[in-house]
Symmetry: D2
Subunit: 143 residues, 4 copies
């Protein structure tokens, strides 16, 4: 579904959301930290589209993926009530390190609002580094 | 320190805070849900002034106080960079039920911005109702 | 669609949402102030279902509806990744005062998680009280 | 005041804050987007220490500094009730582009929790690029 904006043939998760009033600030646009919340929504939906969900990863497999690095470039402001799509791709699966890339696009005019990356380390609930269970590694590498 | 705005002789916790940009919305004032975050800051500081802290309550005593009801009346808008004081009082300690009352006041002009109440039930970490440990009950009743 | 949980024949707006990781706290449940953000989502969707949108109200009609009072009763915790429905009803339209009622229900088991009310005063962008434009008053009274 | 952790002789703004319950997530640590909110608090306090405040910049000088890029590396989790210091430095003032660098340190053990950078473009309230007023440029270059 991403042919129009990508030459990659990796699977990309897409999820829609609408800008909340609480996410705006007095500049009349979305406050910058909210894009990180949206990145996470994209990440979780990508996992869901790969056949498993993050909630189960935490509870059943004692597998957490805290963020160790994030980068975001803001291209154009998001505004109240805008309908957006977050596109998420897996860009790295190596040992206990995962990488994702995101694009936030406004539905109405296909304007790119922001893009970014996150790096994660796989841990257990005590935040101690651990290997990614094989079933997840397979699915993510396939993506 | 509260003589000027209260005839009560109960102890009131006071804590100062400054409005964050992230807390404003596109109306140019603080978004309404943030007052509940501030209520909690007031509640925790009142506990601290009574000699114990909420972090320890959770970790050492398996004692949580989730909110079961909140009410807030907004009197005047809070604006970016305003310096505020949250005044918190204990208004009820009965069995596993606690009640607190809050006033949010702007430092510059002593304007009352909002006031409200919360009702809490004491639980363990599974959110099962339990009795408030005696040391906390004593301190709160004394307040 | 609301026959099962209401004897009222007023129109109720419904909107679905999914709990975000950012909305949870260390108790493992949704932090209490987020329900107020959801109430607003419900309110805006109800307006949309009545044929107009809040964004236009602000921009074209200089008509804002800040909250002057909110009440929320928490019945059962919302958890990460829960799918929820916010049901919103108009419960009062009198002069410059509007009232809404909300129920937050989990889709999976139809569990009621919280219910609440908000009271609003209609203002212009300077937060000065003003009359609700007739087209909105008609639509809301009809609801 | 920064001799212990910096060989630079630039002025660094420091501001203290305490982790709020609302900032934690179900992993039991601070949710990652909150560090960006703290970066902004550090940025504003640095400006204040340089003799002017951001509120005035917006209102009197029609001068906004929206973020166009942010990067954050998470070193160690921040936890509920931790007392933190945000150290902020100006790292670039060139035309309409400003850069800041941040370190978030826990007071108790001087542990570095996160560090990051933001890049800003100076705009007016319509988000159109404009020059930074000379008084601000001087102060920031001096820092």
């Amino acid at each position: 579904m991403n042919e129009s904006h990508s030459s990659s043939n990796r699977v990309a998760g897409e999820v829609g959301l609408r800008v909340r009033y609480a996410e705006t600030d007095q500049m009349g646009v979305v406050y910058y930290s909210n894009f990180l919340v949206w990145f996470e929504i994209g990440r979780v939906e990508l996992l869901r589209q790969l056949g498993f969900d993050y909630k189960t990863m935490e509870v059943d497999d004692d597998c957490f993926i805290p963020v160790v690095e994030v980068n975001c470039r803001y291209k154009s402001p998001a505004r109240y009530d805008d309908e957006l799509i977050v596109e998420t791709r897996v860009t790295g699966v190596r040992g206990a390190v995962l990488k994702f890339r995101y694009r936030v696009v406004r539905v109405g005019d296909r304007q790119l609002l922001a893009e970014g990356e996150t790096v994660h380390v796989v841990t257990d609930h005590t935040l101690t580094k651990r290997a990614l269970p094989e079933k997840y590694a397979q699915a993510l590498k396939g993506a």
